[in-house]
């Protein structure tokens, strides 16, 4: 698959006007955004193109306490506009402090022409037409489905040409696409007198796959229908099966915070070699996962992406570094300088943000647990969680928990009645010898799936705390 040629020169143009001492970097983006919003099965609003071109300039300056930095972003690409942003960055660096001993900016990087799959070529060529086809594919199955219909939804696509340059000679560029899709499916079928049920799909991805969305609709309708007859879960410590879609809302924000040089600087990172997970668990961070929303040829500082092993059979092997935190500890950047990921939100306007060190796509190595059905069988008496209300954990303490929007009791090794309400929770990560999600993994499935920031099989955790009636 050939990546589109990048025509934008945003960062390079801004750098031409830059008159500041080294070291410096400029990150540029030229984006087009297209959106279709649905009300039921009707198109309510069409947006686009929404055009945005801008850059972020960062300068590094030696101060008493180390190497400070200043950052400013702007959409003004005139000579005066670049000068104003650079003046802001210089002024901010005057006041800032950071204990880096040195800063080593990457001197070269691959371009987007290296085969990495981060740009949907059809979407790139015909954005609105492709989105319309995707909407048709998502809505088509409802022609023949009785008792469930979409109540609202949207698909929003951003086509971005990214450019990076710095005082070390880096000139990198690549194109990528990012798609955000939501659809609320409302069920009226099922038990008489019960209120309607809803299953609310939220997905972030790098490409649109009409055939995939079309195939998923019947499952979404079934979940919405099951909401209508769901009962509250029990209270207690239960084996819980967590599919990839749930793990994507729980695991990346904790590991992406704690397994970093930033956490090490604040003395909250796990120690290398310590056992913070079950010995069956190996977790990598991989910035080159095909179609991963965190994937790119280079990170947002220009360091080539690669795979990093965070947990090797439960033991901490490696932490993530951007150039600043690498400079504190005398190590190299791992390609983990990422822009625009604040908490759980992925901002499509990355140039507005300075890089932060965090994960890209976490890869949990498949285990021997087999299929989802086999994991359910292994659970015996427990709970399958299909969707949580807001599971987002506290990234520092690692505590997570959320309301069960739809799940299923597991009885005798089989999925049984749907459950809804109450909460399921625990701690993602905790010190050696204390219970946690990663420490209590009882089985790892054999088939990984990609969901936003994680590529993982389904996991069986024994136990997690469930609070119901």
């Amino acid at each position: 698959m050939t990546a589109p040629k990048v025509a934008a020169d945003t960062a390079f143009r801004a750098a031409d006007y830059l008159r500041v001492p080294e070291p410096w970097e400029v990150f540029g983006e030229r984006s087009q955004r297209y959106e279709i919003h649905l009300n039921g099965r009707s198109i309510e609003l069409v947006r686009g193109p929404i055009l945005l071109e801008g850059f972020g300039v960062r300068v590094f300056r030696r101060r008493d306490a180390g190497l400070a930095s200043g950052f400013q972003a702007s959409t003004d690409l005139s000579a005066e506009g670049v000068k104003a942003a650079a003046t802001d960055a210089e002024a901010l660096s005057e006041h800032s402090s950071f204990p880096a001993k040195k800063i080593e900016l990457p001197g070269s990087g691959p371009s987007g022409e290296n085969g990495l799959e981060v740009c949907d070529p059809r979407l790139w060529e015909r954005p609105m037409e492709t989105l319309n086809e995707y909407v048709d594919a998502a809505l088509g199955p409802f022609d023949t489905i009785r008792g469930a219909q979409p109540s609202f939804g949207s698909v929003r696509a951003t086509l971005t040409e990214t450019t990076l340059t710095n005082s070390a000679g880096l000139k990198a560029s690549y194109a990528r696409t990012l798609v955000w899709f939501e659809l609320a499916v409302k069920a009226q079928g099922g038990p008489e007198g019960a209120p309607p049920g809803e299953y609310w799909v939220n997905e972030t991805m790098s490409r649109v796959e009409p055939s995939r969305v079309e195939a998923q609709v019947p499952d979404w309708c079934r979940y919405a229908e099951d909401v209508r007859r769901a009962v509250p879960p029990p209270t207690g410590e239960l084996p819980v099966v967590l599919p990839t879609s749930i793990l994507s809302t729980i695991v990346p924000s904790v590991l992406g915070t704690r397994f970093t040089g930033r956490a090490r600087l604040r003395e909250v990172a796990p120690g290398i070699g310590e056992a913070w997970g079950n010995e069956s668990v190996t977790v990598h961070d991989d910035g080159r996962v095909p179609w991963g929303v965190g994937s790119s040829p280079v990170d947002d500082e220009g360091t080539p992406q690669r795979r990093r092993t965070l947990l090797d059979h439960g033991k901490v092997k490696e932490l993530l570094y951007d150039v600043r935190h690498a400079g504190v500890f005398g190590t190299e950047s791992t390609g983990s300088g990422i822009r625009g990921r604040e908490f759980v939100y992925l901002d499509w306007r990355r140039f507005l943000h300075p890089p932060q060190v965090t994960s890209t796509t976490l890869v949990v190595e498949p285990g021997t647990g087999g299929s989802d059905a086999e994991l359910v069988e292994a659970a015996g008496e427990g709970l399958w969680v299909q969707q949580l209300g807001w599971a987002i954990p506290d990234p520092l303490s690692g505590a997570f928990g959320g309301e069960i929007r739809i799940g299923y009791r597991i009885r005798g090794g089989k999925l049984a009645e749907p459950v809804r309400g109450g909460t399921v929770g625990g701690v993602v990560l905790s010190p050696p010898g204390t219970p946690s999600l990663l420490g209590n993994i009882a089985a790892i499935g054999s088939a990984p799936a990609l969901a936003e920031g994680i590529l993982s099989p389904t996991l069986l955790v024994r136990p997690l705390t469930v609070a119901g009636k």
Partner: protein, 464 residues
């Protein structure tokens, strides 16, 4: 400082291109400037709001709305955005009127704080942040503390083909203090967070006493017990009560959900949903709310909308389209996150009116249960009528007395059951409005206020 009104001729030129192609067109331009200082034990990071500004043009396309936006405020780029809209407008656009009433508001409003944050200067902001940091770190057991002090000035300039012309400048100021304690690999933090409309005069809350209190609370969390689980009496602090209002009768009364037939509340409009003591308000014109504004992004003035009046569900939140569909007036709740984002019906400042209990009386009334303190997030379920609220900590109530400190929890339950089981609210002196950011679904975050006093009810609680 750039003033959006300087671009008025270019805005008008872009609109003029469309007025003969559609029955209605509007333009909203936005510019925000601001500054923040973030400090912790190892670093100091000042930052400025990005130099970004832009405008979105929305037109009635005959059957649906169409819009385009640009981040370049010059005639050529604005005309290009207008041309994009023009291409999407159907030939019938001049015949069909858009839904609802077009605003005709004209006026200019600007916050004029007694002591604007802009004049404080970076050094003074850093000094303030360092003071707060030193107060926290002085508490034994606190290893680090993240302090953020910041302000913003948001300009919005709105024009439409019905004659509306309005400009506003909203000044916001706020600070967060989050001490961190670590022991045997366990990491805990607590927080103090406030945000207001205004200037330097609003930062008085950042006192040594308050910061030390939250720092001591952080250290105590290292030894907090696991929260109780199951259904029990829940006593919510002010911020959590505000979030209850926001999640329970805020999202569910955003009337676009009514039109999508996605609100469990629509069929019960006019019915009694809670005790006489329960009144819930949404107020964009609130003098002290993080979500306060003068006019919304359709040009309608911010106002006070009663959602629940003494237990009876009487009102909802509207933009022009939902108001027309339901034969009421727009309530000034049409908001965009920014000029790059679409418009939705959104909350502003949502709060529960105070009651007449004391906190101690509510604890005694609860008998056994838990106090939920320092809300961290909430999420609604507009169709299913459930909600989830997460808090950082709490305290068990046993035999009408406060006992053990407990760690983070999630409250969940059916909204109507939780509201019906409200036993009381504390007095006006306890009222607080908290700043926050609200999404429509998982996107489109914008500033909102949530407020109330202590509230006693029953719900399911579990770890989070």
């Amino acid at each position: 400082m750039t003033d959006l009104r300087e671009f008025e001729d270019d805005f008008a030129h872009a609109l003029a291109r469309l007025v003969h192609r559609t029955r209605f067109v509007e333009l909203l331009a936005e510019l925000e400037e601001g500054e923040e200082v973030r400090i912790d034990r190892r670093s100091l990071t000042p930052s400025l709001d990005p130099r970004i500004q832009g405008a979105v043009i929305r037109a009635w396309g005959g059957e649906r709305w169409v819009e385009a936006a640009t981040s370049a405020l010059n005639r050529a780029s604005l005309d290009q955005a207008a041309a994009s809209v023009e291409r999407s407008v159907s030939k019938s656009a001049t015949g069909a009127a858009p839904p609802g009433e077009s605003a005709t508001t004209r006026g200019e409003w600007a916050d004029r704080p007694a002591r604007p944050m802009r004049s404080l200067g970076s050094d003074a902001m850093i000094s303030l942040a360092r003071d707060a940091f030193s107060w926290a770190i002085a508490v034994p057991g606190v290893k680090d503390c993240q302090v953020e002090v910041g302000w913003s000035e948001n300009q919005r300039f709105y024009l439409n083909s019905a004659g509306a012309r309005c400009f506003q400048l909203i000044s916001r100021v706020g600070a967060n203090v989050a001490p961190i304690a670590i022991e045997n690999g366990r990491v805990e933090y607590d927080y103090l967070s406030r945000g207001y409309i205004g200037g330097q005069e609003r930062l008085g809350f950042l006192s040594q006493e308050r910061v030390a209190d939250v720092a001591k609370g952080t250290v105590e969390l290292l030894h907090a017990r696991a929260p109780p689980t199951g259904e029990m009496s829940v006593l919510l602090d002010q911020g959590t009560t505000g979030t209850l209002a926001h999640e329970s009768f805020g999202h569910g009364t955003e009337a676009d959900q009514f039109l999508r037939d996605r609100s469990y509340l629509r069929p019960i409009l006019g019915q009694t949903v809670g005790p006489e003591s329960l009144t819930i308000i949404d107020q964009g014109s609130h003098p002290d709310g993080w979500g306060t504004f003068y006019f919304d992004d359709e040009g309608h003035l911010g106002q006070r909308t009663v959602l629940i009046d003494r237990g009876k569900f009487i009102g909802a939140l509207h933009d022009r389209e939902t108001a027309a569909a339901l034969h009421v007036s727009a309530t000034g709740n049409a908001r965009r996150s920014d000029f790059l984002s679409r418009l939705f019906v959104r909350m502003t400042n949502t709060y529960v009116e105070p009651g007449d209990w004391t906190f101690d009386e509510l604890v005694r009334e609860a008998k056994n249960g838990v106090v939920l303190e320092h809300c961290t997030s909430g999420i609604e379920d507009p169709l299913g009528g459930q909600m989830q609220i997460k808090v950082k900590k709490g305290r068990k109530i046993e035999n009408g007395q406060l006992t053990d400190l407990v760690s983070s929890m999630a409250l969940s339950g059916k909204v109507l059951e939780v509201l019906r089981q409200i036993k009381g609210l504390s007095r006006p002196g306890d009222f607080e409005m908290s700043p926050g950011y609200c999404g429509k679904g998982h996107t489109d975050l914008l500033p909102v206020g949530s407020g109330g006093t202590f509230l006693l009810s029953t719900a399911v609680v579990g770890p989070a």
